[in-house]
């Protein structure tokens, strides 16, 4: 199983801020496309964290980033647990394990943090396409 273009396009529309297009593309995905889409979301999250914190990121940077995300709105602060969010971010480029985090918390944390990272990166269309290509490659590697 591999990640499809529809899955990539649906996620790209969300990251581009076109919520209407995202809802349309996501509605076109069948029930069997859940695995690919889930893998693509997780791979996009890992790729975005590596680009932001893997080289010279510190724990303080991670803590500040999580705090800024939670300060955007009261709803985000209710959804995001700061300790879990920090562990998930550090688990990408460190040996820390987050296998104990449940799927619901992991899904909500990854998509919120992914949206914040891409919004903070202010990628243009080309940058966003290149990002999506990398994430798709990692997802395909997981699913292969």
């Amino acid at each position: 199983m591999a990640v499809t273009d529809d899955q990539v396009a649906a996620l790209r529309a969300h990251l581009a801020g076109d919520i209407t297009e995202h809802e349309r593309l996501y509605a076109q995905l069948g029930p069997a496309a859940g695995t690919g889409y889930n893998a693509l979301v997780a791979a996009a999250f890992c790729t975005a964290v590596e680009r932001r914190f893997a080289k010279d990121g510190t724990t303080a940077d991670v803590v500040k980033f999580v705090g800024d995300v939670r300060a955007q709105s009261e709803r985000l602060s209710d959804v995001i647990d700061p300790r879990t969010a920090e562990r998930v971010i550090r688990a990408v480029y460190t040996e820390e394990s987050v296998e104990d985090v449940d799927d619901k918390t992991m899904g909500g944390t990854q998509i919120v943090l992914l949206t914040a990272l891409i919004a903070d990166a202010q990628l243009d269309d080309a940058g966003l396409d290149e990002f999506m290509t990398t994430a798709r490659g990692l997802a395909d590697q997981w699913l292969s």
Binding site: A16, I19, N38, S73
Partner: protein, 512 residues
């Protein structure tokens, strides 16, 4: 009559030889008349007869006064010191040696100038010790005891009588410095007059009375001065005593005596001298290995003198045999000694437990100990390293070990696979809850991080410079309700007072 030489005056004095009263009279020497066997004329008589035939005036009476001599040094017999003591001169000793040599009776080593008992010429007074004689007591006899006090006699046990006779027959050779003095008649070369004869002739020409010693005057050893010289029987015949040896014959005899081969102990002394000169070689002989010592243990520990030479020869022979039989230290037979020990030890009975020997069964690790010689180095076999092996498995060289950079930053292919696998385990959740949570939180995140619409670029201006303080302008307040109410009350109050004043004037004017 004693003729002495006085160093202080240079004259020759003749003193009477009178032994002290407290001393026993010395035994008559064998040369004196009456000491020799009957029928044989004494040596003194023979010499006196010979002297009378040549120079009848040389015999002096016992009470003759000494007369100064024009040639005192020619006597060379004894000299008085300034302190009154008398010491024998070297000429006296040489003369004594020469007399014994010419007689072919005495060995030079057997003639000891001073007796060991300290009663020699140094102990006596001038009258006793400065005895230079014209009396017939010159030829000093040398007895057996005297011969034993020599150097060779000390080193060796007393030889038998036959050996003593052999030694007496072959006198010791003369030293190079002991050349025959020309003072003695007969020792000078042929055709040349002796110095003594020349001096005597000169003195006679001057009309002086000269105490001219004969050849026998100088022949007596110094031991005779105090009459304490041990007697020695001289194996000589009167014919030998009477005949003076020719110088050529003397030299020839001396040359014959110088050959060490004629001496019975020559080989023995040669071996001793060799061992003294080379002590290291002697030590090496005694420091042979144990099995070398065993071969020499059979020899007597304290060999006798006569057997020492034979023992030395046997040692040399045994050493040569051992050198041919003893293996080299680094040779193949180096461990022959331990092999001999093990041969005497317990034998290997060949007991086994299963397929293994008993020792290997009991101590497998130590079973191989002793089989290899000491210092044996086992061969190193390189172990090939597989790709799947651990980083240290099969490493036999430092170059095969991974570097620090390789350990910190592994190769890309390995990094990608491990990284992807680790991320997949941690973040990939293929479940409905995960998918529902993602879908639910997409709207929330979209509302929070909504991107600005296209066509309305928003440019953030960031002031790098700090804002300078500015004086605030007067605030522009607008009319509020309170102020209007207050103003309305004030205005109504002013109008009400004005209306009252105007009404009062009308009333006052109406009344008027």
């Amino acid at each position: 009559v004693t003729v002495g030489v006085d160093d202080t005056s240079g004259g020759v004095e003749t003193v009477e030889d009178q032994p002290p009263a407290d001393r026993p009279p010395p035994p008559p020497p064998p040369d004196q008349p009456g000491a020799e066997p009957e029928g044989i004329p004494s040596r003194a008589d023979s010499r006196a007869a010979a002297a009378a035939a040549t120079k009848p005036d040389t015999s002096q009476p016992a009470d003759a006064k000494p007369e100064p001599s024009t040639e005192p040094e020619s006597q060379s017999v004894s000299s008085d010191r300034l302190d009154g003591s008398v010491q024998e001169t070297s000429g006296e000793r040489e003369t004594a040696v020469m007399v014994s040599t010419t007689d072919e009776q005495l060995a030079a080593r057997d003639i000891e100038p001073e007796p060991l008992d300290g009663l020699g010429a140094f102990d006596g007074g001038a009258e006793q010790s400065s005895t230079l004689t014209t009396s017939p007591t010159e030829d000093a006899p040398i007895d057996d005891e005297r011969a034993l006090t020599t150097f060779e006699a000390i080193d060796h046990p007393a030889p038998s009588d036959q050996e003593i006779a052999d030694v007496d027959e072959i006198a010791a050779p003369m030293a190079t410095g002991d050349s025959p003095p020309f003072d003695d008649p007969g020792n000078e070369p042929e055709g040349l007059p002796s110095r003594a004869d020349s001096r005597t002739g000169a003195a006679a020409a001057n009309g002086e009375l000269v105490a001219q010693p004969t050849t026998d005057n100088t022949s007596g050893p110094p031991e005779q001065a105090n009459d304490m010289a041990p007697p020695l029987e001289i194996q000589s015949t009167p014919a030998d005593e009477m005949s003076q040896p020719e110088p050529d014959k003397l030299v020839a005899d001396t040359a014959e005596q110088q050959t060490a081969d004629d001496w019975p102990w020559a080989d023995e002394f040669a071996a001793r001298a060799q061992s003294r000169e080379n002590p290291a070689a002697a030590n090496a002989e005694h420091s042979q290995p144990a099995f070398d010592q065993r071969s020499t243990d059979d020899a007597p520990t304290v060999p006798e003198i006569g057997e020492e030479q034979q023992l030395t020869a046997e040692k040399h022979t045994a050493n040569r045999d051992l050198q041919t039989e003893t293996p080299e230290p680094g040779g193949e037979n180096h461990g022959q000694g331990p092999q001999d020990v093990t041969d005497n030890g317990p034998k290997d009975l060949g007991l086994t437990v299963g397929d293994k020997a008993v020792r290997e069964h009991i101590d497998p690790a130590g079973a191989g100990i002793g089989e290899q010689p000491e210092g044996h180095k086992e061969r190193f076999e390189r172990q090939a390293r597989d790709n799947d092996a651990s980083w240290a498995d099969g490493i036999d060289r430092l170059s095969d070990l991974p570097t620090g950079e390789e350990l910190v930053e592994p190769k890309p292919e390995d990094d990608d696979s491990s990284r992807a696998e680790r991320l997949r385990k941690n973040f990939f959740r293929d479940s409905g809850d995960y998918q529902d949570s993602v879908k639910k939180n997409i709207t929330i995140s979209h509302d929070a991080f909504q991107r600005p619409p296209a066509g309305h670029p928003e440019i953030k201006v960031c002031r790098e410079d700090p804002v300078a303080p500015v004086v605030a302008s007067m605030p522009q307040h607008s009319v509020d309700i309170a102020t209007a109410t207050a103003n309305a009350l004030i205005i109504s109050a002013v109008f009400g007072e004005g209306i009252r004043r105007i009404r009062e004037r009308h009333m006052k004017g109406g009344e008027r």
